[in-house]
C-alpha cells in the first residue's frame, strides 16, 4: 500500500450547480418540451432532493399555477408564476420516497398532471417525535430547522411531513431576504469548530445565487440592511479572540464597508458567564439592526447580556442582564427591574430581536442561571424560555412582559442554542433547540462531544404561541440551532437563472509564529495517519488521525519561504459548541484548512509529527 497521502480536487458547489443548470437548459432547448410534455429534472441543484424543475414552452404567454398535492388538502403547496412563453418552474415541497402528484395549470386554461418520483429521505433528515397543532392552525408555511449536530437543514409542514431538505451542512441562521432568497452559512469550515468561510444567498430549490467569502469568517447570525448590504457576525482573521467582531458587507461586491470590534466598547473579562473563556469572551450569537434608533442589538452568551451599540460610533447604549460582577463604571448601562410580575434575567441567552415598538426578546437558555460560580445551577435544575422585556431608557427600568418555558423546567431546557421569532403582538415562536439528556436528566456535557454514547438523548422542541396559547408544538430528534417559519414560494423570482457568483475574499490563514527547527526526514507521512488533502480553488484542507498528545504542525515550504500551521491534538478543544455538526465522532480526527490568500508560488506540503518532518509528496500552487 502506498504511503502517499490521498489527494483530491473539489470543485466549488456554485460551479457544480452552474454546470448542472447549463446541461438542464441545453437539454430543454434541444428538445420539444411542451406544456403537455414538459422536461422534468429532479434535484436540479444537487443539494435539495425534494425539489424539481419543470421546463416547457407555450405558444402564447401565459401564467402557470403549480400545485404540489399534499397528503390532504391542507398540505397542498400552490404557487402561480408570472406569464411567459418559456417556463422554468421550480417545484418545491415534494414528499420523499413517493410518487408525488403535481398539477400544472395555465391561467384560465387547462391542466396537466405530472407524477414525480422521489428517492427515500437520507439519514440526515431529523426524525419527528410529534407535531401537535390546533384545528385552526392553517399555516402553509414550513418550520425550517438548521443543524447543530448531525441532521441537516430540513423543513416540516403542519403535519410534520418533511417537504424540504438540504443534503449539505449549511449552518446557523436561515434568513429570508427582501428578494425572496435566503442567506445561510456555507458548509466550508474556515476554523473548527464552526467558523465558516461566509454565506450563501440561496433559493429554496437549493441554487446558490451568490457566495460571500469573509476574511474573518461567519458564525451564528446575519442581517439584511434596508439597502441590501449585509451585517455579519465575524471575527478578526487572526482568531486571537473570537466572536467579537461585526462586519458590514457590500451586497454587490462582498467587500467589508464597516467594522465594529466589541473590544472597543467592552473589556474582555467583565461580567463573565459560566462558559466564559479568555478567547471566547463575548460569544456573540445574534444581531438585530433597529432602524428606529439606528442601533445594533447583540447577544453575548459569555457575558450573560444583550447589548445595544450605536451603529455609527459603536458606542455602548445599554446592557440587559444581571449586573452582578460587572465593574462600577459599566453599571450605568444596566436596567433596573420593575413591575409586579415574574422577572428573571437571561443567562447565556441566544437570538435577540427588537419588536416594532422597541421591546426586546431573546431565547433565555438559563445556562448556570447565575453569575456567581457558587450559585451555578445544574442543567437539571434550571429552565429555558422565550422572554420579552419592555425597556424604559429614560429611567433605565426594565419589565418582563411575557415568557414561555419556565414552567416546563428541565424538559424544555437547552443549555445552548435556540431562538425566538416575533410575528405580531402575542404571536411568537420559541425554539428550544439544544435539549440534551444523559440518562434521566439534562446533561451537563455537550452532546456533540458524546456522539457515540447510547445514554445521550438530544431533542428539539419548537412552539408557536398565539393569543395566549400554544397553537403548534413540534418535537424532533437531534439539536437544531434555530427554527424559522417561512413559505417555500414567494412573489418574486423563485429561480433566477445563470451562473452564481463568488464575491468577497478569504482571509490569510493565521500561521504559527514559532516554527519547529527540523529538517525533513526524507520519509513519506505514514499511512497509519490516514491523511488526505482536499484542494479547492481558494484553499486546501488537510485531514488526518493523530493520537492525543502528539505534536503536529503542517508546513508549506519552498526554497524561499516556510509557513507553519500548528494542529492541536488536545482531546477537548472546544468549549462552546453552538454548531457541533463538524465535530468528528473520533476526537483523534483533525481538520485544518489553509486559504491560498496571502501565499504565492509552489509549496511542498510537509507534516511534522513529534520528532520527524515527513513529506506528503504533494505540491500546492497558490
Amino acid at each position: 500500500m502506498s504511503d502517499k497521502i490521498t489527494y483530491s480536487f473539489s470543485e466549488s458547489l456554485i460551479k457544480r450547480q452552474a454546470e448542472a443548470e447549463k446541461q438542464m437548459l441545453a437539454e430543454w432547448k434541444s428538445g420539444e418540451y411542451t406544456f403537455d410534455n414538459p422536461l422534468i429534472k429532479m434535484n436540479p441543484y444537487l443539494i435539495n432532493p425534494l425539489a424539481a424543475v419543470v421546463l416547457f414552452t407555450t405558444e402564447k404567454e401565459t401564467a402557470v399555477t403549480v400545485t404540489v398535492y399534499g397528503k390532504e388538502e391542507r398540505g397542498n403547496i400552490v404557487h402561480t408564476f408570472p406569464r411567459a412563453k418559456e417556463h422554468v418552474i421550480p417545484v418545491l415541497g415534494l414528499y420523499g420516497d413517493c410518487e408525488n402528484r403535481v398539477e400544472l395549470r395555465t391561467y384560465e386554461g387547462h391542466t396537466k398532471e405530472l407524477r414525480i418520483r422521489t428517492e427515500p429521505l437520507s439519514e440526515d433528515v431529523p426524525k419527528l417525535h410529534y407535531i401537535k397543532t390546533e384545528p385552526e392552525y392553517t399555516s402553509r408555511d414550513l418550520i425550517f430547522v438548521t443543524p447543530s449536530l448531525n441532521a441537516l437543514a430540513t423543513g416540516f409542514d403542519y403535519r410534520g411531513d418533511v417537504r424540504w431538505h438540504l443534503t449539505v451542512p449549511v449552518v446557523f441562521d436561515m434568513k429570508r431576504l427582501k428578494n425572496g432568497n435566503f442567506l445561510i452559512g456555507t458548509e466550508r469550515v474556515l476554523q473548527m469548530p464552526y467558523y465558516m468561510s461566509g454565506l450563501y444567498e440561496m433559493t429554496m430549490a437549493g441554487k446558490i445565487v451568490k457566495e460571500y467569502s469573509i476574511p474573518g469568517g461567519y458564525h451564528h447570525d446575519q442581517w439584511e440592511m434596508e439597502n441590501g448590504d449585509i451585517l455579519v457576525l465575524s471575527e478578526d482573521p487572526d482568531f486571537v479572540t473570537i466572536e467579537d467582531v461585526i462586519v458590514l458587507l457590500d451586497r454587490e461586491t462582498g467587500k467589508i464597508k464597516k467594522r465594529w470590534d466589541l473590544k472597543d466598547c467592552l473589556t474582555p473579562g467583565e461580567g463573565p458567564s459560566g462558559g466564559y473563556t479568555d478567547r471566547d469572551w463575548f460569544h456573540n450569537n445574534a444581531l438585530w439592526y433597529d432602524k428606529n434608533n439606528h442601533s445594533i442589538t447583540l447577544s453575548g452568551r459569555h457575558t450573560d447580556t444583550l447589548i445595544n451599540i450605536d451603529y455609527e460610533t459603536g458606542e455602548l447604549n445599554w446592557i440587559i442582564g444581571d449586573p452582578e460582577t460587572w465593574p462600577e463604571e459599566k453599571l450605568k448601562y444596566f436596567f433596573k427591574p420593575v413591575g409586579d410580575g415574574d422577572f428573571d434575567w437571561p443567562y447565556e441567552q441566544h437570538a435577540c430581536l427588537v419588536t416594532p415598538n422597541g421591546d426586546v426578546m431573546c431565547f433565555d437558555n438559563g445556562h448556570y442561571r447565575s453569575k456567581i460560580r457558587e450559585k451555578f445551577l445544574r442543567n437539571r435544575d434550571s429552565f429555558s424560555r422565550g422572554v420579552l422585556y419592555r425597556l424604559n431608557r429614560e429611567d433605565m427600568t426594565i419589565e418582563q412582559i411575557w415568557q414561555y418555558g419556565k414552567e416546563r423546567g428541565e424538559e424544555f431546557f437547552s443549555s445552548y442554542i435556540g431562538n425566538v421569532e416575533y410575528y405580531a403582538e402575542d404571536h411568537y415562536l420559541v425554539h428550544s433547540g439544544g435539549i440534551q439528556y444523559y440518562g434521566e436528566h439534562a446533561s451537563d456535557k455537550p452532546a456533540a462531544l458524546m456522539k457515540d454514547d447510547p445514554n445521550v438523548r438530544a431533542e428539539s422542541i419548537t412552539v408557536e404561541w398565539l393569543d395566549g396559547k400554544v397553537i403548534m408544538e413540534m418535537k424532533i430528534e437531534g439539536n437544531f440551532y434555530r427554527a424559522e417559519k417561512l413559505p417555500l414560494y414567494h412573489d418574486q423570482d423563485n429561480l433566477p437563472l445563470g451562473e452564481g457568483i463568488r464575491v468577497g475574499e478569504m482571509g490569510v490563514t493565521p500561521e504559527f509564529d514559532t516554527l519547529i527547527p527540523m529538517e525533513p526526514c526524507g520519509e513519506l507521512l505514514p499511512y497509519r495517519y490516514e491523511a488526505q488533502l482536499i484542494e479547492e480553488e481558494d484553499r486546501f484542507t488537510f485531514k488526518a488521525i493523530f493520537e492525543g498528545g502528539q505534536l503536529v504542525m503542517l508546513m508549506l515550504e519552498n526554497e524561499e519561504e516556510e509557513h507553519g500551521y500548528f494542529i492541536s491534538t488536545a482531546k477537548n478543544k472546544f468549549n462552546a459548541l453552538c454548531c457541533g455538526t463538524f465535530i468528528e465522532k473520533d476526537p483523534r480526527n483533525i481538520t485544518l484548512s489553509v486559504n491560498k490568500a496571502g501565499l504565492k508560488g509552489d509549496f511542498q506540503v510537509r507534516v511534522i509529527v513529534d520528532d520527524k518532518k515527513y513529506d506528503t509528496g504533494i505540491q500546492i500552487h497558490c
Partner: protein
Amino acid sequence: MLREVTEQEFRQEAGSGLVLADFYSTTCGPCKMLAFVLADVDKTCGDKVNIMKIDFDKCPDLVEEYGVAGYPTLILLKDGKEIKRVSGLQQKPAIIRMIEDEA
C-alpha cells in the same frame, strides 16, 4: 532563563523577581509546541524573566496550590505574587507582551 524545575526548586526561586511558570504535561501536543515558543521567548527576553517549566504530573502539590485546572497554563509571578494567568497554547508576541508589561 528557561529550565525545568522541581517543586522544591520552584519554591526556592519563585519568590523573587519576574517568574513565568509553565504548567505542562508530557502527554499534551499544545504543551510540546509551547516548549518551542518559550525557547524563542527566552531568547528575546530571558534577561527579564525566569521561565520555569513544571511537570503537571510530577508536581501535584503545586498544581493544587495554584489551582491549575488544565494544561498548558502559564502563570506570571512578580516577587511570588500571581499577576497574570493564561490557559492554552499562546503565541510568542502575546507572551512577550505579558512579560514586558510587568518587567
